[in-house]
Symmetry: C2
């Protein structure tokens, strides 16, 4: 299919497009806005695959990434990260030409935005719908009202709605009912906000929806917008959580074998922390994996169980657990496929893909 010489992040375009179509159809069925998070794939080309399916609004995790996607014609972008009060230049540049939606977490943010930004801006109030990372408590009406009062003072600032991220869905460990319970609870924390504020702000949007809940839930009643990111590729963690099957994982790293130690049940590949980053997963059998080995073939990879996984990572080395009888069949120079534990960070480390059709795709940085 293509010639490999070094650690290479393979992308199965067909699987990826099926993942995109699945969520596009689900959003259409529910009549909600799909604003996919592009922090996972970070690539113009893959963004265009969403555009072909009708997506027009996107989410990113930094203003720098917003600039990158604006360059490819995206003109309605939410930066799903609390506004950084030092980035007035990027904000002004972006807001002058497109619909820029920013997150605020405190009334002080508004004073700064009003003063430093000269263009029309949409403001989401980030609320904490159960994850407890960032955001105003969904019952802290005092703070919410203060923020709304501040926004109302400035003509170029527009209240867009409430945005939450139920990241605690990632702790569901294979129990779809737990994911659905997080979906239910996190939505039900936000829905009363719409009831309370919709008279004054009839267009306000409730935005939530991470990869686990968007993958498992079929109904999103009361919610207006979802922002899943990881599901464009999925990964071993998402399969573990229960969001997907391994066959839906659309990326795999190809790593060349450089050393073989059957007597230690180990094989060493070129593929380390600089390729995968360092996220790990404690598997059901208690072993810790930094990536699960699959078998590469002409057109991609098979996800049939190999029993092999990365047991440790240094900067460039990946040490793979492989039973003696399996290790003995592997040769120096063979390429092993490895499904990443966390595809977002793997993509960020690699910064390019090779599709299984042989096309090279680069990311933004």
């Amino acid at each position: 299919m293509f010639t490999l010489t070094e650690p290479t992040l393979l992308l199965d375009k067909q699987k990826c497009i099926r993942n995109i179509q699945m969520i596009v159809e689900k959003a259409q069925k529910n009549n909600i806005i799909l604003r996919p998070h592009f922090k996972t794939h970070q690539a113009h080309e893959i963004g265009r695959w969403f555009r072909i399916e009708g997506v027009t609004k996107i989410t990113v995790s930094s203003l720098k990434m917003a600039e990158y996607f604006a360059q490819d014609g995206w003109n309605d972008i939410t930066v799903a990260f609390p506004v950084n009060v030092h980035e007035k230049e990027r904000i002004n540049r972006l807001a002058s030409t497109m619909t820029l939606n920013l997150l605020v977490v405190s009334p002080e943010n508004i004073g700064w935005l009003a003063r430093e930004v000269k263009h029309s801006l949409n403001i989401f109030i980030e609320v904490d719908n159960g994850y407890h990372r960032t955001g105003v408590s969904t019952t802290d009406f005092d703070t919410i009202d203060k923020i709304l009062l501040e926004i109302a003072k400035h003509k170029h600032l527009h209240f867009a709605g409430f945005l939450g991220h139920a990241g605690h869905s990632y702790k569901s460990a294979g129990d779809k009912n737990k994911i659905l319970a997080v979906h239910q609870e996190s939505s039900s924390l936000m829905i009363p906000l719409k009831e309370k504020y919709k008279t004054k702000y009839p267009d306000l949007v409730l935005s939530t929806g991470d990869t686990p809940t968007c993958s498992v839930a079929e109904s999103f009643s009361g919610i207006d917008e979802i922002r899943p990111g990881n599901l464009v590729f999925y990964d071993v963690t998402q399969e573990f959580i229960g969001s997907c099957s391994l066959d839906q994982v659309a990326v795999a790293m190809a790593c060349p074998v450089v050393a073989i130690y059957p007597e230690r049940n180990e094989v060493v590949v070129h593929g380390g922390g600089v390729h995968f980053s360092k996220d790990s997963l404690t598997q059901r059998n208690g072993t810790v994996s930094y990536g699960n080995v699959v078998t590469l073939h002409e057109k991609g990879w098979s996800t049939a169980e190999t029993g092999m996984y990365i047991k440790s990572l240094s900067q460039e080395h990946g040490v793979i657990h492989a039973k003696k009888e399996i290790a003995e069949k592997i040769k120096i120079g063979d390429f092993l496929g490895i499904l990443p534990i966390h595809s977002c960070l793997t993509v960020d480390a690699m910064r390019s893909y090779l599709t299984t059709d042989g096309e090279l795709i680069t990311t933004y940085s």
Copy 2:
């Protein structure tokens, strides 16, 4: 000193140069070759600081990195990673113009090198001096002799010596005597190889020496060459191991505060897995840290204890533990300094530095 707007990796050039001078002097005193590992800093500019101190030979972790440093005039480079039999083009390109030293771990490697490489090459046999990652056992004379026999068949291949990496020194957890014991044991596994083979190969080099052992040991008798990398910057892990004091750590990330939650003893900064990578350290008090907070000032940072550390990292968010009374004094927009857990992977994620003198330095990729 400089204007910060986003997560920025600060580099204290004075501290860095002191670290470089310390090891240069130690190598001179011991009359051994210093071949520093450049995988940590990955920057032409910082390489030149070594050159000023008289260093002429370097180590890198990939052929790609060798190409980058060759472009800046380095002409004696060891790639301290088992040779990847798919990279014949890079090997030929490099070997045609400079002294390229490669690592082999099996006799098959030699047949491939002899066949595919047309230029003069130096070959180190990688030996396992106790870390058990890669390398031939130091007592597996059968394999060593096979490799030497293969090398001898080819005029353009030259046996350079034995190379080991005592990475288990990283498990010493604050006990300098343990580091010295690893130094002693790992050296004593290699020294008999010289005794055995020096008659036939009078110039053979014994190469070892990681950051912990090179920092703590004063004597390197029997060893010819050391290759420490991390000590150019050090990090929180090295302080924990006992290799350095926190005042020797030459890099700190500056991260803007974006949200404050005194009631949860937390502050959130822009600074996540894409900035630090994901290495963590279980501290002496049992808490897990992804980076320790220091106080930034005009000319750099103070390492006085702040009690703050990164307790969790997502892609862009860093959640910092900060006691209520401390969190209450922090304002949105403040910059916090964060000493990285693992400076090598942080540099690899960031790909640029800002020195405390205001100079921007970029890395190779």
